[in-house]
Amino acid sequence: MSVLSDHRGSSLLPSDVQLGVIDSDGQRICGSDLTAPSDDDLLRLHRGMVIGRRFDTQAGALVRQGELAVYPSSRGQDACQVGAALALQDRDWLFPTYRDSVALVTRGVDPVQVLTLLRGDWHSGYDPYERRVAPQCTPLATNALHAVGFAHAARYKGEDTVALVLIGDGATSEGDTHEALNFAAVWKCPVVFLVQNNGYAISVPLSKQTAAPSLAHKGIGYGMPSLLIDGNDAAGVFSAVTQAVRDARAGAGPTLIEAITYRMDAHTNADDATRYRSIEEVRQWAARDPIERLERYLCGRRLLDDKQLTAVRDDAETFALALRERLHGGPAADPDELFRYVYDRPTAMLRHQQRQLTQELSDAAEPAAGVGR
C-alpha cells in the first residue's frame, strides 16, 4: 500500500565541499573521497590538456582569420573536457554540447571534422559511430535525453556501454534536464551526467539560474547519487567520472556530477564578457589554471621534467600545424548535399528542387542576357 520507498537516501546528497585529488597549488589532497589516478593516467591527462588547450587557442585564431564563423572556447574548463573524455572506455558514448570540442579532440575525433560545424560547411563533420560521439548539441539539455535513451537501449541489448552527458549550469534550468535525470533514475540507466558549472550561461550568473545549495543537490530529488567536485582538477574529474562510469557499467544506475569551473574566454568570440563579469574575477580564476596545477604536481613528483614538457608542447604545436594545413585544403561545401540527407532517400519534391538549383547554378555560370534563362 505504501506509495513511497522506505529509503530516505540522505546518502544521495553531495559533499559540502568540492571534492578533488590535487588542489590549486598542485598539492595532493589528503583523505579525499576520490581515488587518485595512476601516474600514467595523470600523464595522459596532462598531455590531453596541453594538446586540447592548443587546439582551443588554434580555433580562436582561426576565427580571427575568418576561417571559422564562430568558436565557443573551453579554455579554463580543460580539466573537465579532458578528464571526462579520458574516463570513458572506447565502447562508451559521449553526448557533448557546442562547448565541448576539446573533449571530442581528446576522444580522438578528427579535429578537422570537429571544426566542420564552426566553419559552416555542415552541421556536424564526423560520423558519430566512429568514435562514439554524438553530434555536438546546440539546443540546451536536449542531448541529456538522447544519452538516457541510448544508455537504456544498450542495457536492453545486453551491452555494457555507458553514456556520458555534458551540459552546462544554464542548461540545468531546462525541463529536458529534469526529464533526463528522472528517466535515467527510474530506468536505472548506465549514464553519467557531468554538469560543467562555469558560473555563467552566456551573461547570466548562477545566482539568477538557481537558488539551490549546489546543482548537485538536485540528484536526491531523482533518487540519484551526486558528487560536487573541483572542475579545475583534472585528476579529480577523471577520478569522479571513472568511478561513476564504473558504477553505471556495473548496473548501479546513473550519477550526477557537478564540476565547478570557469570559462576564461567569452561565451564565443562574438560575445563581450566585460559586460557581465569583472577582470578581477577572471584573474582569480586564472590562478586556478588546470594545466599549471597538474604540471606543478607532476613536476613536483618528478613524473615530468622540462624535456618531457617541451616534447608534449612540441606535439601540441605539430598537432595545431597539421590542423591548420588540413583545414585550408578542405573541399568547398556542396549544395547538392542540401537535398541528399533530409530523408533516407530524397523525395520526388526534393529531387525536383535539387534539379532546379543545379539548373540555376549552371545558368548562372553562363553569361546570360538579361534575366531570361
Binding site: 536536449t142 538522447h146 538516457v148 537501449a153 525541463g175 529534469h178 528517466f183 540527407y341 530523408y343 520526388a348
Partner: protein
C-alpha cells in the same frame, strides 16, 4: 483528463499470436493498429512501444491492449509522464539501433515534445550526413468528433508537415491503419503517425496485410469524373458519404485519400485534378495555414489551365477546437462539402467570391 474507452472489439483476441493476420475478418481501426504493433513486436526485437499508460492499461484508447502482457514491460514501456522525455529518449534509443514506437496520449500533449521533434527527430539524419538514422514512429491520436474536452481534439498535422525531415501519414480505414503502421515502423525515416480518433471504432472486414500502396502514395477511394475531393484520416469517410449524397445532385465525385501528408503524392492527385478540372480539399484542422492551403497552392500551380474553378477548402473554422457540445458546428460535414462542390462554378459564369472568404 482523459476519455477512456475500449476501441478494440471483444470479438477477436487482439495482440495475440493466435490470429492469422492475413485472413479476412472484421476489425476496428484500433484493433488493426493493435495487431500491427503486435506483429511488429513479434517480428523484430528492436521494436519497442513507449508511452504513458501503454502498459497495463493498454493505452487510453486500448490500442496497446494486451501487448505488455504478451511482450513484457521491457518491450512495452510505461514511461514517466513527460513527452519531451519520451521523444528525446526514443531518439537516443534509435541512435543505438532500436525502433521505438511512441504513443502520445492526445495531440495537444505532444506539444511538450516539439523541440525534440523539430530540432532533433526531423534533423539528425541530415545533421550527420545520413550517418544516424532515426526510425522512430510517433503515434498521435488526432482530431475531434469524440466529444472530447479542450486539448483532446487538436488537429496538429501542419506543425509536422511543415517540418522537413519528417514523414507524416494518416490512415482512414482499419486495413490501411494496419498497413501504414507496419510500413511506418519499417521506414528508415521518422514518421508522425496521425490516428483519427473518431475512426478508432470504425469497422472493416479486411485482410490485415502490409503490402499494397506504399507509405508515400495516395489512393483513389472512389473514382469519379466531376470533382476531385482530396482528404485524409478522419474526413475520408465524411468525403465518401458526401460523394454518395452528391449522386442525387448528379455529381460524380472522385475521393482521394492522401494517406501520406508529407511527402505529397503529386502524381496521383494532380492527374485526378487534371481529369476532373475541379477540386475540393477537406480537413478538420483550422483553414488558415492549414494543410489544405498547400494542397490548393501546389495543385493550382500544377493544374492551372485545367481548372474550371478555384480549388475550395472545407475545413474547421479558425478557432481553438470547440467544447464538446459545439463540435458539430465546427467539423466538416456532408452539407458543407456539397455546398463547396456547388460553388465550383458549374454554370461557367464566374461567381465572384466574397471578400475574406476562407473555408
Amino acid at each position: 483528463m482523459t476519455a477512456t474507452a475500449s476501441a478494440v472489439g471483444d470479438d477477436h483476441m487482439v495482440g495475440d499470436a493466435r490470429i492469422d493476420a492475413a485472413a479476412p475478418r472484421t476489425v476496428t481501426m484500433a484493433g488493426a493498429l493493435n495487431q500491427a504493433l503486435a506483429d511488429c513486436l513479434a517480428a523484430d526485437d528492436s521494436v519497442l512501444v513507449l508511452g504513458e499508460d501503454v502498459g497495463a492499461l493498454g493505452g487510453v484508447f486500448r490500442v496497446t491492449d494486451g501487448l505488455a502482457k504478451r511482450f513484457g514491460d521491457h518491450r512495452v514501456v510505461d514511461t514517466p509522464l513527460a513527452e519531451s522525455g519520451i521523444v528525446g529518449t526514443a531518439i537516443g534509443m534509435a541512435m543505438n539501433g532500436l525502433r521505438p514506437v511512441v504513443e502520445m496520449q492526445f495531440d495537444a500533449f505532444a506539444y511538450p515534445a516539439f523541440e525534440q521533434i523539430t530540432s532533433h527527430l526531423a534533423k539528425l539524419h541530415n545533421r550527420t550526413r545520413g550517418a544516424v538514422s532515426l526510425p522512430v514512429v510517433i503515434r498521435i491520436p488526432y482530431g475531434g468528433g469524440i466529444g472530447g474536452v479542450e486539448h483532446h481534439c487538436d488537429s496538429s498535422e501542419v506543425y509536422y508537415t511543415h517540418t522537413p525531415g519528417l514523414r507524416v501519414v494518416s490512415p482512414a480505414t482499419p486495413g490501411d491503419a494496419y498497413r501504414l503502421l507496419r510500413q511506418a515502423v519499417k521506414c528508415p525515416d521518422p514518421v508522425i503517425f496521425l490516428e483519427p480518433k473518431r475512426r478508432y471504432w470504425s469497422k472493416e472486414s479486411t485482410n490485415l496485410v502490409m503490402d499494397g500502396p506504399g507509405i508515400d502514395r495516395a489512393v483513389i477511394r472512389r473514382p469519379g469524373t466531376d470533382v476531385t475531393v482530396i482528404t485524409y484520416g478522419g474526413t475520408v469517410a465524411t468525403a465518401l458519404e458526401a460523394a454518395d449524397a452528391a449522386t442525387a445532385e448528379g455529381w460524380d465525385l472522385e475521393v482521394i485519400d492522401l494517406r501520406s501528408l508529407a511527402p505529397f503524392d503529386d502524381d496521383t492527385v494532380a492527374a485526378s485534378v487534371r481529369r476532373t478540372g475541379r477540386a475540393v480539399v477537406i480537413h478538420e484542422a483550422s483553414g488558415f495555414c492549414g494543410y489544405g492551403a498547400e494542397v490548393v497552392a501546389r495543385l493550382t500551380e500544377q493544374c492551372f489551365h485545367h481548372l474550371q474553378a478555384p480549388i475550395l477548402r472545407v475545413t474547421g473554422f479558425d478557432i481553438p477546437y470547440t467544447p464538446p457540445k459545439l463540435e458539430q458546428y465546427h467539423l466538416p460535414n456532408v452539407d458543407r462539402i456539397l455546398d463547396a462542390v456547388q460553388r465550383l462554378q458549374w454554370d461557367d459564369t464566374p461567381v465572384l467570391p466574397r471578400s475574406g472568404t476562407c473555408a
